[in-house]
Symmetry: C2
Subunit: 287 residues, 2 copies
């Protein structure tokens, strides 16, 4: 009987939308099903969503911001607003802070992740986003450069087509929304496995996450991430690492990294950030 009461209470009480952090590998579908953007829209409150777009990574903030404005307005958001932050001082403006206190979703566009961090890091605006994400009051999404900034350590740039080595990846400090991870994006599309392995060999206390284009890792507040979109999410987990020569070799010498665990996750697969467990999607039965 108490169970029934609880259930009926739950059904009667209007539940707030469950917030999440959506980390998108760039080039997400903006034209057809728009599944990833639609999920962000839904998790930000759907028809009740108040979405702010931060295009600071881009050199063409008005153009890129305008594109997302139209998309979320078309979906039926209650309010969509560009926060055209180009200078750090703007992050102290009361209007910007008020928008970030009031909105239900923040979207970080692509561009240059160093530019985005240069403008936002350690500012009052940034602190509002961080606290409201942590408190479950705000759904955050970042695509491409906006995805790269998610971890504490950030891949700022790098190369491909080389044996993993220290100079293959340029590291910087990110915005730290999910401090445990090092995110790489446009991942298999731009052959970035070598640079993610190089990054993880230098920071084996983190988890490497490589996200393909038009693909999203949806981080829930309970530690699970789930994959959506058309590509894969690659997990490079150094928990069981037994050896790396990273501290001892020159910048261009080949790296040794023993006992990484590697998962290629695709649609519907889940991975737990802290337990490091992986759950397959219920797969199609072959005919």
């Amino acid at each position: 009987m108490p169970q029934l009461q609880a259930k009926s209470l739950e059904m009667r009480t209007p539940q707030a939308t469950k917030t999440a952090v959506l980390v998108i590998g760039g080039a997400e579908d903006k034209v057809h099903g728009r599944e990833i953007l639609r999920t962000f829209f839904g998790r930000a409150g759907a028809s009740k969503a108040y979405i702010t777009i931060i295009p600071s990574a881009s050199r063409e903030p008005a153009i890129i911001g305008g594109r997302y404005i139209r998309i979320f307005e078309e979906m039926g958001a209650q309010k969509v607003e560009i926060l055209d932050i180009r200078e750090r001082e703007q992050c102290e403006a009361s209007q910007i802070k008020a928008s970030l206190e009031a909105c239900s979703g923040v979207f970080l566009t692509g561009g240059d992740q160093l530019r985005l961090c240069g403008v936002l890091a350690d500012t009052p605006a940034m602190e509002i986003i961080r606290q409201r994400v942590r408190a479950g009051q705000l759904t955050l999404a970042g695509t491409s450069a906006g995805a790269a900034v998610m971890g504490h350590h950030m891949i700022a740039g790098g190369g491909s087509g080389e044996t993993p080595n220290r100079s293959l990846v340029d590291m910087a400090t990110g915005l730290g929304f999910i401090p445990e991870v090092i995110v790489d994006q446009h991942f298999h599309n731009r052959n970035r496995m070598g640079r993610l392995i190089s990054a993880i060999s230098a920071h084996p206390d983190r988890l490497g996450i490589g996200i393909d284009e038009d693909t999203c890792a949806v981080f829930e507040r309970d530690g699970w991430l789930q994959v959506m979109g058309k590509g894969s999410v690659t997990i490079v987990d150094p928990t069981e690492l037994t050896h790396t020569n990273e501290p001892h070799v020159g910048a261009n010498e080949p790296l040794t990294v023993h006992n990484l665990r590697l998962h290629i996750l695709s649609y519907g697969d889940r991975f737990h950030l802290y337990q490091r467990t992986v759950l397959p999607a219920v797969h199609r039965i072959s005919s």
Copy 2:
């Protein structure tokens, strides 16, 4: 006392050179230190070596074969000979068979691995090489296409810059000198991690080995392989695989592969093919 006798016997008895199989990722140094080619030369008997070169993978067998002839002659091999096999029938010729019965080293050049297999597979010549390698009478080396043919399953071609998927890799049957492995070459240089993972998801009973350019995995007869050269050898080990959607998805759909073990090995690192254990080289102490 019996131990001492045994030791002194060992010291007095001229020991035959220990044979090996050298799997080279292509573009090995042919000009300067030539460490990899020199190791092959040594393991084939050094000044007593009788080396045969099989350039059948190449469309320019005389040119490529001639280059290796000069190198091994310069090193001081007793005899170096091109076996210019272009048709399967030649693999039954008594002269070819006699050379393969007598030589101490066989070198498979680069080119097209399908061409090499088309000429050699299931021929008397091939059978002589296989048996003598297995018996420890012959040191075998293959570079690039000559490396690709080493496993039972062979990567015949494929792409890069894509989410791992079944159509990213073309599989064929190799020559099976080391049946347990699937070899890929020019590995990080040509961004081939995605295609090796795709290959392993289809054959999780094998071990994926990706070899960089100017890099060699030296397979000893006791199951150990050791790395030499300037790049890395990547091991993709599916022993602990818990799930893949490979049997259930379409050719272009993204693959799911859970719980691969990944090692990046560099100079001096060792890996045991059957025990699946990894041993670091004694690394330089940082100053």
